[in-house]
Amino acid sequence: MEEQLRRLESWGRYPVAHSEVRDLHWRDADPFARLTQHALPYGLGRSYGDSCLDDGGVLLATRGLDRFLSFDATTGVLRCEAGVSLEEVIALTLPRGWLPRVLPGTKHVTVGGAIANDVHGKNHHRAGTFGAHVRALELVRSDGSRRVCSREQRPELFAATVGGLGLTGLVTWAELQLRRVEGPFIAVEAVDVPDLDHFFQLSAESDARFEYTVAWVDCLARGRRVGRGVFFRGDHSATPAGEPGPRRGRRTVPFDLPAAALNRLTVSAFNFVYYRRNRRRRPREEHLDRFFFPLDGVERWNRIYGQRGLLQFQCVIPPAAAPEAIRDLLARVASAGQGSSLAVLKTFGDLPSPGLLSFPRKGVTLALDFANRGPRTFELVRQLYAVARQAGGAFYPAKDAVMSPEDFAASYPRLAELERHLDPACSSSFWRRVRQGHPYQASLPLPPTPAPEVTP
């Protein structure tokens, strides 16, 4: 029943929260009716830390709000409910020659979630954030009001809601401006990056010429080789969609791997092979699924980190400080020997982000993940926070489970403006942690006690 608590994990599987879940189905209904607890809109739960969780509260699950309102195939303006996933958007619009202007690393996120986290993609230097292409949205607040917000109409509330982590109310529908594409393929080049200096050179040169740029980094490379990796850059190709081939079978990780599966040896073996294979790869055309969402090919890939899950870390460092700070961060990860294979570097452009709490800003962003091995992983991540903070860096709530209230406040100078627009009924585990100081202690990450699963 609704009053029963469900055990919920975010994609990082740490921390775990217990909440009631209220499934929403109709956008005309009042999502906040008869609430006695704080609440948080919840989409597909793909945030890594606790920004999509509300321990002890009520999750307003939006996946039942999955209808389209309108789509104009001549202008590329799509209006849909907040629980529609990007996968569903693409399935509808790609055959008609349109695609969202900004795509994050997974298509298993809802439109509402993409707005609430103001997500970014490999074309940030050209297109800015997801929110930059939201034309309007409707926000329901716990006082029962419904407000359509856009850059023209209630611009402050719009700026608070884009990137607002679901704390300003529930988005029921949003209107997106899509971009034209001629087909589903991306022409991709892979370029060898022998060290970090080359990354900065390549990035500067490529961002001017390519729509999409991103670098994979071998986070175990040390010494002179720090920053070694492969730089991917691409543009939409004019090749039209062929006959739909045999559907790529979806693989899944059927169970939690033992925590020891990801160790220095397996990660370095993977990185070695991945680097050799890709650095001399010839340019080719890739289906956009493969280019944008390589990890979506494996369902539940977060299980390879074992039951204790993973910690994500993503910061952006201002351009002047970036070369030194990124080198320092990568060197620390390499010498701790804890990094996993999913390390990504990208230069953000200088397009302003629309949200008061938008993460992307001019600079270089580094994303890393670490299998959660308890205190020593937390210790390393804390060190990374300190280094990035010293360099004037900012941190990404969607990928965070450990930042301190001070880290958060330093990252978001417009916090006070946002707080004027919070919905009093909304809260999240993340929010209580970074605003009211309920930090997760290093002593906390014990193996999760297997809570009794609630079944009928």
Partner: protein, 246 residues
């Protein structure tokens, strides 16, 4: 392009089924009670590619609307429907149903009286046309009365029997009748239940329905394993069955 009539179009199973028809480009005539929700469903189906979408607001428990809405459907679709899907129903509140005869009558009106009245009219129109498929959403709950919800089970047992009789009467005329028996489905109707592994998403049930219509099946359990479950449930002697709490 098929002509599809959806009765109870805001039900989750109906909406999911209508989406599959919309993606095929079919023409849809939708009937439901709540105007705002019906138009939300209709707009969505139009975006998904339906050849045509018409919405008709009516409370189907008011039997006097039935003939009028079928006329409107034929006019809008340009002929009698190729598929008529009847998908409305209510689970009721068991504690209330145990004590309140009015609640029981109301449930029977929604789940049995109105569907029988409406499908009687649909049947004669299709019989005249000599083709078409009637799809009725009944339930596995109609196979045996449970202590947990006797009235709901009775309504679905009655509806299943009606559909079976209708099928026997109409098949000579070239009209097909499909009885759908879903098990536990994750929809607003079951929002109060804790969802275990037995719950199927409405989309999966919808795919089963469309496939069963395409292959002209008579009775389909969705998901399939309920056929085996219900075989076992039917086989239990009443002496034992009455002692089970569910």
């Amino acid at each position: 392009m098929k002509r599809v009539l959806v009765l109870g179009a805001t039900s989750a199973i109906a909406e999911a089924t209508a989406r599959l028809h919309a993606e095929r480009g079919d023409a849809l005539f939708l009937v439901a009670r709540n105007a705002a929700r019906l138009s939300a469903v209709a707009d969505d189906l139009a975006v998904r590619g339906a050849g045509r979408v018409e919405a008709f607001v009516a409370d189907l428990n008011d039997l006097s609307h039935h003939a009028e809405l079928l006329d409107a459907a034929e006019a809008a679709l340009g002929g009698p429907p190729d598929v008529a899907l009847l998908a409305y129903g209510t689970l009721g509140t068991p504690v209330l149903l145990d004590r309140d005869p009015d609640a029981a009558v109301e449930l029977l009106n929604t789940n049995l009286v109105s569907p029988v009245a409406l499908l009687t009219l649909v049947a004669s129109r299709l019989e005249r046309a000599g083709r078409g498929t009637i799809v009725g959403i009944s339930s596995v709950a109609g196979e045996r009365g449970r202590g947990g919800n006797a009235v709901y089970g009775a309504s679905k047992a009655g509806f299943t029997a009606f559909l079976s009789g209708l099928r026997a009467r109409l098949w000579r005329a070239g009209v097909h009748v499909l009885t759908v028996k879903p098990g536990l489905v994750d929809t607003p109707m079951t929002a109060h239940m804790v969802k275990g592994r037995l719950f199927a998403p409405a989309g999966a049930v919808a795919q089963g329905i469309v496939a069963a219509v395409d292959r002209q099946a008579d009775v389909v359990y969705l998901p399939w394993f309920w056929r085996a479950v219900m075989f076992a449930v039917r086989a239990l002697p009443e002496r034992i069955f009455k002692q089970l709490r569910f």
